[in-house]
């Protein structure tokens, strides 16, 4: 589902921008938001995965039209094209960081459907101020012919955007998976944990204002994203607190790099909507590539680590000082847990209930439970390491196109 939405966004962004140029950004944005809201409603009411995927694809079409047209509408609102570009780029970066946190909160507090249903009033509210522009466009009709000319897209900036987006998608997607599937946190707990990234992104946005040179901001951002991902790859313990420093680096980094590269890709280029479309396309193509490239690696690793962790856990049980008959009882219960949660990282706590009443045996069993859980946590955490390292490398390699990306006045 994630891939289909991003794929449609990647493919539709530039055509949607061209359409916005033809029919007028006000009308394109209004229609785009209406489609986005309608498809969001369909997503929320979907009774099957296939319906949900189709509705998400339609939603991506509407989203592409609205987001690219917004770039044409912003200068009139904020006063200048440069300011519009900065705001548009920063909004994109903040949205990327905020998504998992808000999604997790809504899923736990209400339902997954609420994520989509809440988009309906949000999109309709956003459409209200655009309606007057759309009406004006409908009345005046034709767009100035010179505005239809388009320059070449900024290849290096867009290439860097795609690479960094692939790495950031890995950071967001894999971290949420690690927390929920690996460490067994609830969606709301995971949402609270990953809210560090959007908060750090706000700091990144402030830093962006202090440094004028976009290439330096992009390079610093890519390095921070890479460093944060490497930190997640080498977590020394399965503790939520240890994910905070890497998340801060990723959050600050993504804000710096996404906004700087978007500004570079748009700088001095016209029409803005079409070049904005290229950046949207590059970012979402990067997300698709990142997910498609890293998912099989991560899936293979989690199966391997599950196997290794279960073997290590069995060794812990066999070598424990617990009475052999009790040990066998526990081994049977743990085996049942593994059966019940086949393919997942198992929760082994219930296998140890009720704890023995004898204090010595109880202490031994509690120690055994702790050691067994430690082995499972090690496996669950290590299963994500290769994917995080590859994502970190991708962010580092993005430094090459960043080095070649200059803001060109056309």
């Amino acid at each position: 589902m994630l891939v289909s939405f991003n794929l449609v966004m990647a493919l539709a962004a530039v055509p949607a921008a061209l359409l916005a140029r033809r029919v007028g950004p006000g009308r394109a944005a209004a229609v785009g938001l209406a489609i986005f809201a309608g498809a969001g409603l369909a997503c929320g009411l979907a009774d099957s995965l296939s319906t949900l995927i189709v509705a998400r694809c339609v939603q991506a079409l509407g989203g592409a039209a609205a987001v690219t047209a917004a770039l044409e509408l912003l200068p009139a609102t904020v006063g200048s094209e440069r300011r519009a570009t900065t705001i548009w780029a920063a909004a994109g970066a903040t949205g990327a960081a905020l998504g998992p946190a808000i999604g997790g909160l809504l899923t736990e507090l209400v339902s997954w459907q609420s994520i989509f249903l809440l988009q309906v009033p949000a999109a309709l509210l956003a459409a209200v101020p655009i309606l007057s522009v759309a009406k004006h466009e409908a009345a005046t009709g034709v767009i100035e012919p010179e505005l239809r000319r388009t320059g070449r897209p900024h290849v290096w900036a867009n290439l860097a955007l795609a690479m960094v987006s692939a790495a950031i998608a890995a950071a967001l997607f894999l971290l949420v998976l690690l927390l929920i599937e690996g460490w067994r946190l609830s969606p709301i707990e995971a949402a609270i944990v990953v809210s560090v990234m959007p908060l750090a992104a706000l700091v990144g946005a402030k830093l962006s204002e202090l440094v004028a040179d976009a290439r330096s901001r992009a390079a610093a951002g890519a390095i921070l994203v890479s460093g944060g991902l490497a930190g997640l790859a080498f977590l020394p313990k399965a503790t939520v607190a240890l994910t905070v420093p890497p998340q801060i680096l990723v959050g600050v980094g993504l804000s710096l790099v996404l906004s700087a590269l978007t500004e570079t890709a748009l700088g001095g280029r016209a029409p803005q909507a079409i070049h904005g479309g290229w950046t949207i396309s590059a970012r979402h193509a990067g997300v698709v590539i990142g997910l498609l490239a890293l998912t099989p690696i991560f899936t293979h690793d989690i199966a391997q680590q599950r196997h290794d962790a279960i073997n290590a856990g069995t060794a812990v049980i066999l070598d424990s000082p617990v009475n052999p008959l009790l040990k066998i009882d526990l081994a049977e219960k743990v085996s049942e847990r593994l059966e019940e949660e086949r393919g997942k990282v198992p929760t082994i706590g219930p296998a140890f209930e009720p704890l023995p009443s004898d204090p010595v045996t109880r202490a031994e069993v509690e120690q055994l439970r702790g050691e067994l859980q430690d082995q499972l946590n090690r496996g669950a955490t290590h299963a994500f390491s290769t994917s995080f390292i590859l994502a970190a490398l991708l962010a580092l390699i993005a430094l090459f196109p960043i080095a070649l990306a200059r803001e060109v006045e056309l």
Partner: protein, 170 residues
């Protein structure tokens, strides 16, 4: 100049974070590797017949796993439940008869290990070995119906000799 400071700051922050995580074991936070069952495993210092039976069972598992070419842990899980044994047989193509033969070989290895560790006198080890070699295959198959019966059988097997064994306990 500010741009350069930002880039240097990013490099330093990244290196400090990764360096700190690696320094406190970030690269070795993986599940413990399981030991090759064919390599001798040191015996703990058994203090009672129950502990000897436990140690003996673990040695027997090592010996049987070595014979079958699987890990001790895989074999232990196979013996934990009847479903586990069925799945094990399907995955590795190991019949009950082959498994029973391996368990018999494992028990012999356990006698060797116990003797080597000084937990079993050579005077006792020789007749135990003889008895094990004479266990009919069908009885050996029954022995592996589940882990509890395996341990129970080890205990009943050691039981008659317990008086003598206990004399040799440290």
């Amino acid at each position: 100049m500010r741009g350069r400071v930002l880039v240097i700051g990013a490099v330093v922050a990244s290196l400090v974070l990764v360096g700190a995580y690696l320094a406190v074991g970030g690269s070795s936070y993986t599940p413990e590797k399981t030991q090759n069952p064919c390599k001798p495993r040191p015996w703990s210092n058994p203090q009672s017949l129950g502990e000897i039976a436990n140690q003996f069972t673990i040695s027997a598992l090592d010996g049987a796993a070595c014979k079958l070419g699987v890990s001790r842990e895989t074999l232990a899980r196979a013996l934990a439940t009847p479903e586990g044994r069925k799945r094990f047989a399907e995955k590795y193509g190991i019949t009950d008869a082959k498994l029973a033969q391996a368990i018999r070989a494992g028990l012999l290895r356990a006698v060797d290990d116990a003797e080597e560790a000084g937990a079993l006198s050579p005077f006792l080890a020789a007749p135990l070995r003889e008895t094990l070699q004479r266990i009919p295959l069908q009885e050996a198959i029954e022995l592996i119906q589940n882990a509890k019966s395996l341990l129970g059988n080890v205990q009943s097997f050691l039981g008659p000799a317990s008086g003598i064994i206990e004399q040799f306990l440290p």
